[in-house]
């Protein structure tokens, strides 16, 4: 972010009450909408607006090997695997290419802080507005995995009646 936003962020951080007001505002938006877990290093824009920190393993780079065939979580079969939901939503929003970005290791110092202010301060990466254009030729990216994903997704969505979208 720019020098100006960094200055604004520094100002806010010097004023705890102001910080709290902004953070409360952020939470008021992000909690009900995205079930945000206040990780402070927000990657919602590249996870189809579903917070991956709901995953019991807090995986930010995709699902573990244990997702159940019906798309539920291996740890708690009563909940959907968040990565299952992310892939389904990303497919709908046409943002699948964003999901093969390797995420930075999580900075634990940011837990419980405001991602908006961290973004202004330049501590975390910006918002990804568009799925990045495909770089490789279609022969290499292969339409088949995408097509395969669609078919397997359609099949499994009917197999997971409880799946929220």
């Amino acid at each position: 972010m720019s020098k100006l936003t960094e200055k604004i962020a520094a100002f806010i951080e010097r004023h705890p009450t102001l910080y709290r007001i902004i953070f409360t505002l952020e939470n008021a938006v992000k909690k009900p909408l995205f079930d945000c877990r206040e990780c402070g290093q927000c990657i919602l824009s590249s996870t189809a607006l579903i917070c991956p920190m709901r995953c019991p393993k807090e995986l930010r780079d995709g699902p573990c090997g244990g997702t159940l065939p019906n798309g539920r979580c291996e740890v708690d079969p009563n909940m959907d695997c968040v990565w299952y939901l992310i892939y389904k939503r990303a497919d709908k929003l046409d943002r699948l290419p964003l999901l093969d970005t390797v995420q930075k290791p999580y900075d634990n110092r940011l837990r419980g802080t405001s991602a908006w202010i961290n973004l202004m301060a330049g501590r975390i990466e910006g918002v990804k507005l568009r799925a990045r254009p495909k770089k490789r030729s279609s022969a290499q990216t292969g339409t088949s995995p995408l097509a395969a994903a669609e078919t397997s997704d359609q099949k499994s969505s009917s197999a997971a009646p409880g799946a929220r979208s």
């Binding site: 090997g65 244990g66 999901l99 390797v102 995420q103 290499q140």
Partner: protein, 330 residues
């Protein structure tokens, strides 16, 4: 492998076997739930001369056991090459790096990075589940160590020589995530991949096809997971209790059809051998990783049955320039 090289090079025996174009065979030993080294040594006897390297699991199924590093060292003492597994469940990035340096100092060269079963599935569900890094970041961190820097960026004085592996589950949902996941791991430095057990060859084939389309089989060695089972009930147990395992109905029926215990065991071996032969025909499959479920003694029968004996004898010490040549950079 299509890109097989005739000259063996690499930092470990496993890497040399793979880089010289041989079809690799790995085994797996679960360290004991006690301090008796002879249990590891006894199991090693089944694997010696039958596999190229053997995995030592890291508190598998989130159950506390002898450490993977210690068991790896015992394995080396028994004359076998270990693949040390390291999960993200029990260690943060500091512990992971220090354990890796320690393991390398002891002579361990193969490392397998995985996320690990969640603590709530094991025998200490009250434990703090760490998951500081995920398996992708862990893989990248290991590559960093080999290249001479810690995750922090600080220099590693003597970088460890490592052959870095990761896992993949071709059978989990959603399918595309399974391909992306591998892509990320390969981009982060995974030189070999061990997959979840294959009990559904068509689905595995489809996943391999997607991997080939992404060019992944050119950048990493994929070893298919094989599990010889001794009874229909073991198979059913796996289907119902082991996360991420997918078993086609056909195999359960075949195992259930056996008339006696011995018959079932024979059928288990037949299925394993047959699966090895089928995956071997799939382009891009570089080897197999055989995980006998509580049945280590069967390993020779399976490997022999699949026509994979004797195991290749590759150079003991690689030429000096081998290391850089062996690094499969994406």
């Amino acid at each position: 492998m299509e890109n097989a090289r005739s000259d063996a090079c690499g930092v470990s025996h496993l890497e040399r076997v793979l880089s010289s174009g041989h079809f690799a065979v790995c085994g797996e030993i679960g360290p004991p739930r006690g301090a008796d080294p002879s249990e590891v040594l006894r199991k090693c006897e089944y694997f010696r001369g039958v596999v190229d390297a053997v995995n030592l699991t890291d508190n598998q199924a989130a159950v506390a056991r002898m450490s993977s590093m210690a068991a790896s060292l015992l394995t080396m003492q028994a004359g076998l090459e270990p693949i040390m597994q390291m999960t993200c469940r029990d260690r943060n990035r500091l512990a992971q790096q220090s354990d890796m340096l320690g393991a390398a100092a002891l002579g361990i060269r193969n490392i397998l990075c995985l996320s690990g079963d969640h603590v709530t599935l094991g025998n200490h569900p009250q434990a703090k589940s760490v998951h500081d890094l995920d398996a992708v970041n862990l893989t990248a961190m290991m590559r960093g160590l080999r290249e001479g820097h810690f995750l922090s960026g600080d220099e590693v004085k003597t970088p460890p020589e490592l052959f870095i592996g990761a896992t993949a589950n071709p059978f989990g949902e959603p399918f595309l995530a399974r391909v992306h996941n591998l892509k990320k791991k390969v981009a982060s430095g995974a030189q070999f991949i061990q997959t979840q057990v294959v009990f559904d060859v068509p689905r595995f084939e489809k996943w391999m096809q997607a991997c080939r389309d992404e060019g992944l089989t050119e950048q990493t060695y994929i070893l298919a997971g094989i599990a010889p089972v001794r009874s229909a009930s073991t198979l059913k147990f796996m289907r119902n209790n082991v996360a991420g395992v997918h078993i086609a109905e056909e195999y359960i029926q075949r195992m259930s059809a056996a008339s006696s215990k011995e018959d079932a065991m024979d059928e288990g071996v037949r299925i394993a051998v047959e699966t090895i032969q089928r995956v071997r025909d799939i382009p891009g499959v570089a080897g197999v990783h055989i995980m006998p479920v509580m049945w280590e003694s069967v390993i020779r029968r399976v490997v022999e049955g699949a026509g994979l004996l004797p195991r290749p004898d590759v150079l003991e010490s690689p030429p000096a320039e081998a290391r850089s040549a062996s690094e499969l950079t994406p």
